[in-house]
Subunit: 355 residues, 2 copies
């Protein structure tokens, strides 16, 4: 049976990336050694890191005022590492709480200094993005989650602020060309649009660091990682290599413009199908709908179980909504082919006809 992988992350990767990753486990770069057995300070691996950094800068169209780091711990680590590096008692973190992940960012930041929640969309179950933010003039930084994986919303243009702008881009990094330069610090767990689990990309402007008096442990100090060329200690070698393969794949497909074209085609098809069928409904404000994660429901909730069972028998993987939200969630990351969304939409139509 043909499988269609709509997992929310870790998620589908390009077939080509999987093949090259598996080949490197047997023999990496003709070294005769596995990628799992090489030293991280060998020239072979240092080149992997450098090439990945170069591609990231090219895709983001950013200059040498930014540094690209490949760290560990995911967004959950960044929720505390960002304030540990940027915030102290004299500062103020302005944070948008637009769902599960933004909420965690609020909780962790509050351990390091004052926090103001400048947007809380819980009033409408996080089904929209509040763009009218009241950001205090003394805010050190504004933190946004550019795409809310769980709730299915996405910022389609970024808020203006005189504060530093920090973006958790874990679930929509490189989904389209965008103004990355609007941000002073961006981070993303790789396991959605740029590789496998186990590595977290941080892109940061050097000039914003070192402004607090806090003593920061080496492993959590962005400056230490920058000084060490992202090789402060043993990095997650294989995960970084899979990210490089994925970054190369993005460029080979035509870069971010090609990703956007594909992602719009997929998400338009899916949202149009949902809106056209009375059996389904999507509560997310149309202008804020995510092109990565579509969250929607059966109009008759009692039919949800039957629909999910049908999805399972038809090889549609990972379409059950997040446990606190329920319903259906279809994740359409870069590597998901258009044909998978077509197949899913056909299944929705055929299900809708029968009920």
């Amino acid at each position: 049976m043909q499988l269609h992988n709509f997992n929310s992350g870790p998620s589908i990767l390009p077939q080509e990336v999987l093949e090259k990753a598996a080949a490197a486990i047997h023999n990496f770069n003709n070294t005769g050694l596995s990628i799992l057995e090489i030293g991280h300070r060998t020239s072979h691996f240092v080149e992997v890191v450098k090439e990945a950094q170069t591609i990231v800068k090219r895709l983001m169209d950013i200059g040498d005022d930014y540094e690209v780091l490949f760290l560990q711990g995911g967004a959950t680590m960044q929720f505390m590492q960002v304030p540990m590096n940027l915030l102290d008692e004299n500062g103020l973190a302005a944070i948008c709480d637009n769902g599960v992940w933004g909420n965690k960012a609020v909780k962790e930041a509050s351990l390091f200094g004052p926090v103001k929640v400048v947007s809380d969309t819980a009033d409408k179950k996080h089904t929209y993005i509040n763009k009218a933010l009241d950001i205090p003039s003394n805010a050190t930084y504004l933190h946004i989650t550019t795409n809310n994986t769980v709730e299915g919303t996405q910022w389609h243009s970024y808020p203006q602020t005189s504060a530093l702008l920090v973006g958790d881009m874990s679930s929509d990094i490189f989904c389209r060309p965008t103004n990355f330069k609007a941000f002073d610090l961006m981070y993303a767990g790789a396991q959605k649009n740029m590789g496998a689990a186990g590595v977290t990309m941080v892109v940061v402007k050097k000039e914003i660091l070192g402004k607090t008096n806090r003593k920061i442990p080496a492993i959590l100090d962005y400056r230490k990682h920058i000084e060490a060329g992202s090789l402060l200690n043993t990095p997650p070698v294989f995960s970084i290599y899979v990210s490089l393969l994925t970054l190369r794949w993005i460029e080979a497909q035509g870069g971010l413009a090609a990703m956007e074209k594909l992602n719009l085609a997929k998400s338009n098809l899916l949202y149009n199908t949902i809106d056209s069928l009375s059996a389904f409904h999507c509560p997310i404000a149309k202008e804020d709908r995510s092109i990565m994660n579509a969250v929607f429901f059966l109009t008759d909730a009692s039919k949800e179980e039957a629909f999910l069972a049908l999805c399972k028998t038809e090889g549609m993987i990972g379409v059950k909504g997040y446990r606190t939200v329920g319903g259906i969630r279809v994740s359409m990351y870069n590597a998901l082919p258009y044909s998978s969304v077509e197949a899913f939409c056909n299944l929705m139509k055929s299900f809708a006809e029968k009920i």
Copy 2:
């Protein structure tokens, strides 16, 4: 050419582990999906974590008073995470500084509370283990590096203390049966004896946690990871799977007794060869020599370059000493076959005859 991989870490893995890891990238557990594409909360992956935890407990012969976690960030993260969880201003960390890694543990711990260095072997360039420790009676914990990867020394029996005992076992975990129960907290980066880079095992007694008043960020709080069954956030899925494969391999070989037999055979052969050849010398105190990493020198230092060049042409990988130590370092982790040490010893003999 046959390669012999003496890398200090990331290092050689069993061929069987590499083959199974590559196969899982194509199709994991007959799911039709890659291990890189599966959700970390699927039953398939939850079983991976549970089986790995079970094998670790079996190999260590420890009970349910211990928890086994698979985290990220390596020993460098543990250098700060251990004191963040165990130490505060009312406590005292007693730490053995027997080399590069112990020294880093001292620096990071001092950010969280009082530290006393109870052993500093710099007087003899860290060529021995000081076993006569003066541990203050009010020490919260004693931290030792059970094997000094860079310097080539190893604790062959553990110090007695009324304080909690913490062990950085990154470079000798599971090299032999030992009294793991002597420890209250043990950690190890996987990339030497138990898998690939990208995952760090922490084994901790639950009862020692929660004794400080510090507010700990979620990702750094062992208790949060325990509550979440080591799945607090997206874990390094592939690296954990490679650790499971390696743990299974250790058991299939006959467990820690078999590892010890192999490791003693390899290290005895190598040290005996060094000691028998006047062209080489090992400055490490005999009783403290590591069975994982042998550090030694050419008696005539001017011959070192020629020897390293010969090693290179003969496929002996990773034998150059650490940059601050120099000389030769041969790492003989569990997966290194006896035949590789034989080949290396033959090369030493043939080199010694010609000079």
